[in-house]
Amino acid sequence: MRARLYVAAVLGGLGALVVVAVVVLRVGRIDPSPPQLAGHPNNAIPGEIVYLDRNDCIVRAAASGAWRVQVYCLALAQYALRPDVTRVDKDTVAYFQWSEPTYELVEINLTTKAVRHTVAQAARLGEYGLSGIVSPSGEVLAQDNDRGIFVVSSGARTKVAEFETPEYRSPHLETWSPDGKWFALRYYADEAQTSAELWILSRDGKVKGTLVADAGYSMVSWWIDGLGAWPKVMQDRPK
């Protein structure tokens, strides 16, 4: 028995040593996330972003990382599609939801949190399919298979940044800022993709930051006073 305990000690010790070394040294683990903006806000990043977090609550955050507030929580079924929340004016966010027999537009006042429901036909959807990949001036944000992020303008392609991410987990392109100088990217740090990080990247690729780490699955909307929201989801709003 003593010899077997000796074997158990040697093999168990070796196994523990290998596992602890691999875990503590974070062998092969990749953390491509830029520095958190929440702790060190970058006031050069203008405007606000609204997004739906992983708990289905609408959150409004300064793009600089200076502040963040929860606006309104939705009641959604577990497997229901998450609505794309968009900023429609300085005081209002809105989303579409299915309400038999048609879609309705739900508008929420950011200050009073008052909710207004109207039938969706009264609103006209804008360039929904293109989302925020196209900038207000018509430039396109693109990605290649080597994790590079590019701006394509007048047929010319300029590399902006490259992130060392795990295979098949490059950041998703989310939207341009309304002034066309910044991008928001979505990155699933967790392999199970239970929530996403929102990254902010400057157009020249020099400034990078992680804005939040609790984004859900739906589109984000960027608002800058005087310039409005991007992407422009609604062209007309019901009166």
Binding site: V10, L14, G15, V18
Partner: protein, 320 residues
């Protein structure tokens, strides 16, 4: 016993043993002090084999029943679906493994070997259900590997039999796989290093006489030490290909030193597969296969020439 008498007589004739020592050895072998084969030792009977077959068929049925209804089961039911069979396997194994009856002992070994697999499965389900350490992601799977290997090691300590050695080897290989799975992108090199370390350490302990039964420990741990680097080599790590050749050569040398046919057989098989993979990877496919076959054939011939000089063959010749 008859073989031992013949050996002792032959050693006495060769002058290796004096008459007095030879007599004492014969008396010892004939006395109660010499270990006696247990009742029913050897191959399982047909009845026992059919019983095992029935249990396997039953287990597969229960497995499919649980698998088909997995989505509809509550969390506690899922844990119970693997936890209860684990407890039954552990308890029934504990009851049988020290029995005087060889058939029951074999049943106990089989139950504990099954318990190792069920133990890993139970930990996996618990991690998945409670989303511990990210569920069954990198960390969770590593925890499953550690738990499985720990249980296999514990059961081998309690009952060092062939099936426990086999379970320990399988658990060591699984642990190496979970270590390879730890990085963001699966790292076959890490798998290869871990398997080589575990297999190599276990082989060293086997040859030092600490790991028993040696008959199963030798092939199982040699296979673990070679298979990990082989997988790494197949998946692109050139260093691992060279390590397979080096490790196979070392095991071949060990076979000469320890007069073990098992080692040379494992080494030859490993070199054969590694050679085929190596040539196909590094040479044009048109010439790759024929060259691999020629080199492998040459290797086999060389292995036979080496084996001719081994003591096991001398032993076979003497017995013939």
């Amino acid at each position: 016993m008859a073989d031992r008498r013949e050996d002792i007589a032959r050693w006495r004739e060769a002058g290796l043993l004096d008459s007095e020592t030879a007599e004492r050895l014969l008396a010892f072998e004939a006395s109660a002090a010499a270990p006696k084969p247990a009742r029913g030792e050897g191959l399982p009977s047909i009845t026992e084999a059919v019983l095992y077959l029935g249990i396997v068929v039953l287990a597969v049925g229960v497995f499919y029943l649980a698998a088909f209804n997995w989505e509809d089961m509550r969390s506690w039911a899922r844990i119970a679906a693997v936890g209860v069979p684990l407890l039954l396997a552990l308890l029934s194994g504990a009851a049988m493994v020290r029995s005087d009856d060889a058939a029951l002992r074999r049943g106990g070994q089989a139950a504990w070997a099954l318990a190792v697999a069920l133990g890993g499965g139970s930990v996996a389900v618990v991690f998945d259900e409670h989303d511990l350490w990210g569920g069954l992601g990198h960390g969770g799977l590593l925890a499953v590997g550690v738990s499985t290997a720990s249980l296999a090691l514990l059961l081998w300590v309690l009952s060092p039999r062939h099936l426990q050695v086999l379970a320990l080897g399988g658990a060591a290989m699984f642990l190496a796989v979970t270590i390879g799975n730890w990085p963001e992108d699966f790292d076959f090199s890490l798998l290869g290093i871990a398997a080589l370390a575990f297999g190599g350490a276990a082989l060293a302990l086997t040859e030092a006489g600490f790991v028993v039964p040696r008959a199963s420990a030798r092939p199982v741990f040699a296979a673990v030490a070679l298979f990990g680097p082989y997988l790494a080599g197949v998946n692109g790590a050139t260093w691992a290909e060279l390590v397979v050749f080096a490790a196979a050569a070392a095991i071949g040398a060990l076979s000469v030193w320890r007069a073990s046919f098992t080692y040379i057989a494992i080494a030859v098989v490993a070199v054969f597969f590694e050679l085929v993979s190596f040539v196909i990877r590094h040479f044009e496919s048109r010439v790759g296969v024929p060259v691999a076959l020629i080199l492998s054939g040459g290797l086999l011939v060389a292995a036979v020439l080496i084996l001719v000089r081994l003591r096991p063959f001398d032993h076979f010749r003497r017995r013939a």
